[in-house]
Structure formats: C-alpha cells, structure tokens
Amino acid sequence: MMLPNLEVPLRHADFSLEEHHLMLQEAFRSFFKDRCPIERVREAESGFDPTLWAELQDLRPIAMAVPERSGGDGAGLAELVVVAEEFGRRVAPVPLVEAAVTARLLARFADRLPTDLLRTVLDGSTIATLALHPGLPGVMQLIPSAAVADVVVGLVDDQLVMVTNHTKPATVTNQANAPLGRFNLSQHDGSTTVLALGDDARSAFDSAQREWKLIMAAAQIGIAQTSIDIAVAYARERRAFGTLIGAFQAIAHPLVDAAMATETSRRLCYKAAWWADHGHHDQRKHIPFAYLSAHDAAVLATKVGIHTLGGVGFTVESDLELFFRCSKGWTLVAGDPNRVLDEIAAELYGPAA
C-alpha cells in the first residue's frame, strides 16, 4: 500500500522562552507570590482587590502588549501569555485578562478615543473590559469585570463601541467569585463612543475575542499548574496504608495525566501566541486549539487536585477550591468551550454548510 505523500514542511519547534520572557516570568511570579498570598484572594470582596490592581501597575502589564506608537511598551501576545500564566497561578483578584486585551483593541482606534482615555487605560487607572458576545437589543449580557470596569467595549448593531460604565452594575454571584456584571451595550446611562463600523468593527471584535481566548488559555494553564503543584506536594507528604500516597499509581497516574495535559497546552499557547504575533492568517487554528486544550487541562487538573487531597480538598478551606472555581468560572463567560470546535472546523474546512 502506498501511503499519501504528505507535504510536511520542516518547521522550527522551539518552545523555549527567551531571556526577556524569563525575566518577565520572574518579575510577575515574584510579584504575585509576594503580594498575592491566597488569603488576599479570599479576602477580595466581589473578586476585585483595587489595591492589588494599583500595585500591579508598577509592572505595566496593560501597557506591555500595546504598540509603542499608542503609548504602550511594544511587546506582543507571547509576552502577555507568559504574564497571564503567572496571574492564573495565583488566581489573582484583578481584571488582568480583560483589561490587557481591551487595551490592545482600544489602541487600534486611538484617534477615536476621548483625550487621555487610552493613557489611563494603559496605566490601569481606567479599567476597560470586553463584552465577549455581540450585544443583542434588550438583552443584558454577563460581562467579565463589568462590576468594576470603567468602560465596556463590545460589538452591537455592527458597531464597535466603547461605553462608559457610569452606574457600575452589582456583582452577580457566580461560581468563580469574579466581578461579573450584567450590562447592555445599547441600553445604559453611559456615553457611547463608536470605534468602528461594519467589517472593520466585526474584524476588530473578532481579533479581540480571539486574543481574550488566548490570554485566558494561559491563565488556565496557571490554574492547572498550581493545582498540580498543590496536589503533588500533598501526595509527597500524606501517608496512608503505611506509605506515601504519591507512591500509589492510582494517585500518581492521574496527576501525570493532568501534568501532561498542562504541559501540552502550555506549548500550544506559546505556539498560538507566536503565530498570532507573526500575523499568519493561515495559522489561526492555533488559538482555538490552545483555548480548548487549556480549558480541558484546567478542568482535569483541578478535578484531580481536589481528589488527591480527598475530603480536605473538598472543604472551603482548601486552596484548591479556589482554583477549581476559576477553571470553569473564568472560561464559561465566553460560552460553551466546546463551541470553539466550530471555530477550528471553520479554519480547517471552511464555513459550515
């Protein structure tokens, strides 16, 4: 039998972090380690700690991945992915993912924005968030960080708009204890700035949705990694039946599965970020790949983590409980994660019939 001759180009498969990535990783890792102990996550009212947010701005995470011509620091999604993993490792109660992605979106329309708006978004004093679904007339949308954001950006009636969030909606109680709020892009008491119309609006919104998925994927990797770290540390100390429980394959192998899923997804995030930064339209599939893979990894790692700790993992005192809540709680606002299979299929096989 002759097998099909696949034209497989010889590609680099370099997943290593460069020097500046490692410096970023170290800077944000030590920031979150020092300033965001798990007690601070628990204490954050409605999932937002304004002091932590202000402290975080010393590292300029929002300006980082915005072009220099718009007042940013000119880094890209690869750098943002590295930072977001560190944020996810501590489930820090700050709207980092939304704000960083929305800042990149706003920077594309800097000339349409009120004076000084972009500058204050970049320095964190104005919190910008993204409505992850196109707005429908008369329908309130659950929007991440809408309870704390100063401006909400989204697509409504084929317009990309920025709306000031005057009367911040109350936090809607939710699994992740995130500052979710209900907001309607076309009915509100704020002022609206139209950023783009028609195709321009749709394509900019599509980019922002995709970037949110990529950066959220990296945050999910952080959630998964910490869950594994907590469970491994426990399995190395806890004894049962006269031995360390980590020596039982029934404990160890599920942790291995979680670690494999996490490492694979981390690499998919790097790859997706690299392709997105390098503007290759034919490589768009990598973002939904990374998003679904990371979501699955976080769901698996938090599940295995809780199970490894047994009853202790299931109590509200367990740190794992917080990570578990954010694994679904942070992603589900974007809709059923399995729906990204349709995005993958569209990239690979064209539009659905």
């Binding site: 097998l3 190395r236 690299w274």
Partner: protein, 388 residues
C-alpha cells in the same frame, strides 16, 4: 519561541534535494509493498543504500562511515525519512544499542561493529523482554554461564523486534542468580548465527520474534561491561528509548513518530469528509456531528506532536488510539474494511490504524511504565514500584 518554516541555507537546500532524489530512487513502491506484506520494519536493499551514503550514522565523520552531516542536515534527513514512511524499526534498535557497545565493548570489537553498522552491513536487535519479564526487566531469566573463554546462553527472548533482520542481539542475561536482581545481570552482544528465531505476528501487522537460546556459545569478547554490571550498560539505551534526558522537559518531542501516523489518518479522513458521499451526495464535513469530531481530532493530532519527552510518547500513542477508534466510527460499517479490500474508505488505512495504534502504547516501554517515569522524574513523586 520559533515555529516558522525553516529557511534552508543554500547548502541545506541542495542537501534536501539530494535526500529526495535518493528516496525517489531507493524508497520504491516495491520497498513499501514488501514492508506492508511482511511488517518487517526493515528493508535490506534500502538499508544498505542508506549505509552507502553514510546516512545510518549521518552525523558521524566520513572516515568512520558516517556522512559528517551537520545537525540541521541530519534533521532534514530524519524528517524526510519519517514523512516518506521509510522502514526504520531495525535501524532504530541498531542505533539505540550502538552507544553502549562503543562505551562498554572491547575496543576492537566496538570499532568493527560501528563500521559495519555505519555502512549498513550490521543490524542489532534489543534482547530485553522475555515471556516472564517485560515491564519489569530486571527479572530476566535467560542465563549466561561462564565456560572458560566463552559463555553459554540459555533461555528465551520474546518480542525481539527485528531479530530476523539482525546480526547481533544486544542481550540482557542473568549471570548470578544469587545477587539482587539488578545486580546479577550482564549485557552481551550476541552473534545470532545459529540461533532459532520464530515469527510472532501482531494485530498491527508488524512482525516481531521469539528468540531461543539453547546452549548458544558466545566468546567473552562479546561481553559489554563488567560481569554483573549489566544494568548500568543497559540504562543509557533504555533511557534514550524512554525519551529521558537530564533536562526531561526540554527534549524535543518524541511524539513525532506516532504524530506522523496521526497526521496520515487525519489527512485521509479530511479527504473523506470533504468528498460528497456516493449515497446522498452530501459531504460528511457538513454534518455538524462529524464536523466537531473532525475538529477535535485535528486538535488531538496537534497535541500528539506537541508534548515533550516521555510525555510525548504517552500522549501520542493514547491519542492515536482514540482518534483511530473515532475515525472508524465515523466511517461506519465501511470502516471495517482493511487495506486491499474493494470499497475500503481511506485505502483501509483507518481500519489498519485502529489495530496498529494499540501496539504503540505497549512497545518501547508501556505507557504505564512511562507514567511512572513522568511521576518520578518530572513530578518528583515517590517511586511506585517496589524496590526488590
């Protein structure tokens, strides 16, 4: 980070052309056909042609039978061999064993073996597994008994893939039954002339072997390393096979080999899914049910070649098993038709892949053994298998 297509230097582009021309000439339809029929994992003519170019040990100096290739040229060669589905199993076992032979063998013998390997005259199989010793290799019972300048080998080796292609077996034998199990074993490079080899055929169509040693005599010069210190001789090749290096997370993916099998299966299915069905004229990909499963399979194939080191080995074989089963389901009853059968969709490749995939989680160290490796070496969990 870097994922772009590799821009070849002028020298490397010429080299790629040379490799492709070589494969067009030597990797013929007959070679593929023979491999398909025998599952031998080896083709003598093709292997010798590789050897003549110095491409069995491609980075070795020309004077030692290699081709003095740079790392990038060696990567090009390897890539082309994989994507063109060149038979490679026996070449793989041969080159896995060679470093240990060079380090531990009698220098004169090692030089002679290396030379023969390089030019394609000598092949080596791995004589590890026995009917009663697989994952737990240290329980091997094949005995080597000293008799003057010689050793007498008695026992059976099982699943010695490529033994029928090989001139030597890189053999693990017990030399002192009274010592603790890891300590009473010795490695030998056993010439296979006169040894009985019987075929074992597998579900995946590959041939492997039973090898019977019945008082087989081997001169002491074929011993590798000190007597009863065989475990340390074996460890290098074993770790290489398991994808373990010191920096286990930094190794390039070993998923590649099954990743390619996954890519072929996906390619076949993509063609199938985008072709209007003879029954109702509709393309399967327009059925939302098929569409999402194809997308999920595409993600799986990406994951197969992404996971690093021993993780890659586990992820790639297990996902191959999963996608092959799911692809079979999508094809429906026709998915049961093997290659060569009239009406077999995807040339029967999916039916074949569904069988073949099962073996990938077993040979070369099972996925279970690899999970132990990840647990202990990467996660730092305590050892799970008892130390006997």
């Amino acid at each position: 980070m870097k994922f772009s297509e590799i821009e070849l230097s002028e020298t490397d582009s010429l080299f790629l052309k040379e490799v492709r021309a070589f494969l067009d000439e030597h990797l013929t339809e007959e070679v593929h056909q023979e491999e398909w029929e025998t599952g031998s994992g080896h083709n003598v003519g093709f292997h010798k042609a590789l050897g003549q170019r110095g491409w069995i040990l491609p980075t070795w100096p020309v004077a030692q039978g290699g081709a003095g290739l740079t790392e990038s040229q060696a990567a090009i060669l390897q890539h082309e061999l994989v994507v063109r589905n060149a038979p490679s199993i026996t070449k793989g076992t041969t080159t896995l064993a060679l470093p240990a032979i060079m380090s531990y063998g009698d220098p004169e013998l090692a030089a002679q073996i290396a030379c023969g390997v390089a030019i394609g005259d000598i092949c080596i199989c791995l004589g590890y597994t026995e009917p009663d010793a697989g994952s737990d290799l240290a329980t091997v019972r094949t005995k080597a008994t000293r008799d003057g300048d010689e050793w007498r080998i008695d026992g059976q080796k099982m699943f010695t893939t490529g033994a029928h292609n090989s001139h030597y077996s890189f053999l693990l034998a017990r030399t002192d039954p009274d010592l603790p199990r890891h300590k009473g074993v010795t490695m030998f490079l056993v010439p296979l002339e006169g040894v009985e080899i019987r075929a074992i055929n597998t579900l995946g169509g590959e041939r492997t072997n039973m090898v019977y040693f019945d008082g087989h005599r081997v001169h002491d010069r074929y011993r590798l390393g000190e007597v009863n210190r065989g475990w340390s001789v074996l460890l290098g090749p074993l770790n290489a096979e398991h994808g373990i290096r010191h920096d286990a997370m930094a190794v390039e993916s070993r998923g590649g080999m099954y990743g390619h099998a996954g890519s072929i299966a996906l390619e076949y299915m993509e063609q199938w899914a985008q072709t209007p069905s003879a029954v109702d004229g509709r393309r399967p990909i327009d059925d939302p049910h098929i569409r999402r499963r194809m997308a999920r399979a595409a993600l799986s194939v990406e994951q197969m070649s992404t996971a690093p080191g021993p993780m890659g080995r586990i992820v790639s074989s297990e996902l191959l098993i999963e996608i092959a089963a799911d692809f079979s389901d999508m094809l429906g009853p026709d998915g049961l038709l093997p290659p060569g059968t009239t009406g077999a969709p995807c040339d029967g490749w999916i039916e074949y892949a569904h069988r073949y995939a099962q073996g990938t989680a077993i040979y070369g160290g099972t996925t279970d053994v690899h999970r132990n490796i990840v647990a202990e070496h990467i996660l730092g969990l305590p050892r799970s298998t008892p130390k006997v």
